[in-house]
């Protein structure tokens, strides 16, 4: 299987990373060699193997549902690239 330019454009869209054509071409090459390397996994018979989703394999602990009301608005907005004191500001979404 090879990853063509069309697929690269599709992944770029999904990842929200814009790509110039020249870079897309190089990336297609890189990804193809990486996926060729990954294809080694096809040698294994794994139909009956349970997937390993978490290495710790413990059940998550419960905690009490407590209301905490810290006033952290300032902290949260401190690093924002753009805000108007109370909110994050983004380019206009609705006309």
């Amino acid at each position: 299987m090879t990853i063509d330019l069309k697929t690269i454009k599709h992944i770029s869209r999904l990842s929200c990373i814009s790509l110039e054509d020249e870079k897309a071409q190089k990336l297609a090459g890189d990804l193809n060699s990486i996926f060729k390397f990954i294809e080694k996994l096809n040698e294994l018979k794994i139909e009956d193997v349970e997937p390993l989703t978490s290495i710790a394999e413990t059940t998550l602990k419960f905690r009490t549902d407590e209301v905490k009301s810290d006033n952290i608005r300032e902290k949260i907005l401190k690093n924002s690239p753009s805000d108007n004191e109370d909110f994050f500001v983004v380019p206009k979404v609705v006309e």
């Binding site: 929200c16 080694k40 401190k78 753009s82 206009k92």
Partner: protein, 485 residues
């Protein structure tokens, strides 16, 4: 007394407790040496004046009951530090100043340590040579234009160059052990769940672990003891009975069974590494341990599995960098355009490559073929270790398939870069602890490391084995201070 900056952590603590040295003297010594060592490019953010102030405060009101009393420590720039810029080596976090502290760094400050600064690393810890950092390459103090390894390259370099007495790194596929091996230092990746991940910039959440890096095994045990804790803020933190690693450290490994996996004898491995491994085997034998030939049949599938699992988790973790809440933002015509430009300009090439791989393997129609398959193979890799650990107490392998390479040597070939982690990646996939210790020099006098892998939560055992090998080897790094004019 020898120069302050060449003392080990244990020696510094002893000197402070016996009032032979003050925290201010020690901190100033490390600051001065760091200032003379800018060519190594180990620091992303220096916090020197604040460190000296904190040291003076400590000396005014010293508390000698602490485990790291007034000891200055520089840390990898992947740990969020309250009020001190944290970049993860990325342009996208270039201006990010956390308003909270990571649990691991909080643990070390609570025991009296003082932040010296934030150390360079591969961007989002994605790399094996520190060459993907937005803040530039790091020089290995061993030789000019040599990579220090990665991703904790700045940490390893600063430690080997005596700019910090110990340091902390993170390890997702070898990012502590490989740079430790490349710089002649000790690095330990703890069992998954031992050190809290709270406040560490996430790369691949099911693999990431923080761990200590040091000049010797004793320092490593002490730092791990301070770093490791159960933390409610990390849902994968594990509540187990933690050993007092430094107090229980001993070199009695008589009767321990140590496995030698045949699959780690890879093609075209340099003869020097083969020799080093043999030497290590002889050493543990002399200490009274018993060697057992073992097999970990799925070893060769670990890297392909890792390059599905890690990018998949990374693509999800890094979705948060959208230019809205914090970090770098680019200008866009509309919201989507802003997202796409921000991420395109804010991330470097390796990070983008991995996000793309991760997005692809998780995308509709490919999930079963890649991600699910990788999770199944991950189970097989873990089973290999489960079976073997019924017969042996620990496993001894080389840390890396080669010594450090030149800057630029592998940047154009991602696969050859990835192959660096062939001996370290399986341990992350299985969630086990592993330690790399310096064990010899190659023909260029570049350090080589040996790795000891343990059962889950059995850090004490691998520390003890490392301690006894260290005693036998008596390794000395050859560092000439070439960067100091």
């Amino acid at each position: 007394m020898s120069e302050i900056t060449s003392l080990t952590l244990t020696e510094l603590v002893k000197n402070i407790k016996e009032k032979k040295l003050s925290s201010t003297e020690i901190t100033k010594a490390f600051v001065e040496r760091s200032q003379k060592s800018k060519e190594l490019n180990t620091y992303i953010t220096e916090d020197f004046s604040s460190a000296i102030e904190k040291a003076k405060k400590f000396d005014d009101k010293p508390n000698f009951d602490l485990k790291l009393p007034g000891i200055p420590i520089a840390v990898k720039d992947l740990f969020c530090t309250n009020g001190v810029r944290t970049t993860a080596g990325s342009k996208i976090l270039n201006n990010f100043i956390p308003t909270y502290e990571s649990t691991v760094t909080q643990n070390i400050w609570q025991q009296g340590a003082i932040l010296l600064g934030k150390l360079n690393c591969d961007e989002f810890a994605m790399g094996s040579s520190n060459e993907t950092s937005f803040f530039g390459n790091v020089q290995n103090p061993i030789d000019k234009n040599l990579v220090p390894g990665g991703s904790s390259g700045g940490s390893a370099s600063a430690l080997a160059a005596n700019l910090t007495p110990v340091t902390i790194g993170t390890d997702t596929g070898g990012s502590i052990r490989q740079p430790a091996s490349f710089t002649g230092t000790v690095g330990l990746k703890p069992t998954y769940g031992s050190c809290s991940r709270y406040g560490i910039v996430a790369f691949a959440s099911s693999l990431d672990q923080a761990g200590p890096m040091s000049k010797n095994v004793k320092d490593c045990a002490l730092l791990l003891e301070v770093m490791s804790s159960y933390d409610k803020k990390d849902s994968t933190s594990i509540d187990f009975n933690r050993s007092k690693y430094s107090l229980e450290l001993n070199n009695n490994i008589k009767g321990k069974k140590i496995g030698i996996p045949k699959e780690y004898r890879v093609d075209d491995m340099p003869i020097e590494i083969e020799e080093l491994w043999k030497k290590g085997i002889e050493h543990v034998k002399e200490c009274g341990a018993e060697l057992v030939d073992i097999s970990l049949p799925h070893t060769n599938y670990a890297l392909p599995t890792y390059y599905i699992v890690a990018p998949a988790e990374a693509s999800s973790n890094l979705a948060r960098y959208d230019g809205v809440k914090y970090g770098f933002r680019s200008h866009g015509e509309n919201l989507i355009d802003m997202y796409e430009k921000t991420r395109s300009e804010g991330f470097g090439d390796e990070v983008k490559r991995r996000i793309m791989i991760g997005t692809y393997v998780l995308s509709s129609g490919y999930y079963d073929a890649y991600y699910l398959k990788a999770q199944k193979v991950r189970r097989l890799i873990k089973k290999d270790f489960d079976v073997v650990f019924n017969q042996v107490d620990a496993i001894l392998t080389p840390s890396t398939p080669s010594s450090a390479f030149k800057i630029g040597e592998k940047t154009n070939d991602p696969i050859s870069m990835y192959l660096n982690d062939i001996f370290t990646v399986p341990i992350n996939l299985a969630g086990l602890p592993g330690i790399s210790i310096p064990a010899g020099l190659d023909k260029n006098d570049y350090p080589l490391g040996l790795q000891i892998i343990g059962k889950a939560f059995d850090e004490q055992n691998i520390l003890n084995i490392a301690y006894s090998i260290e005693e036998k080897i008596n390794f000395k790094n050859k560092i000439t201070d070439w960067w100091i004019k």
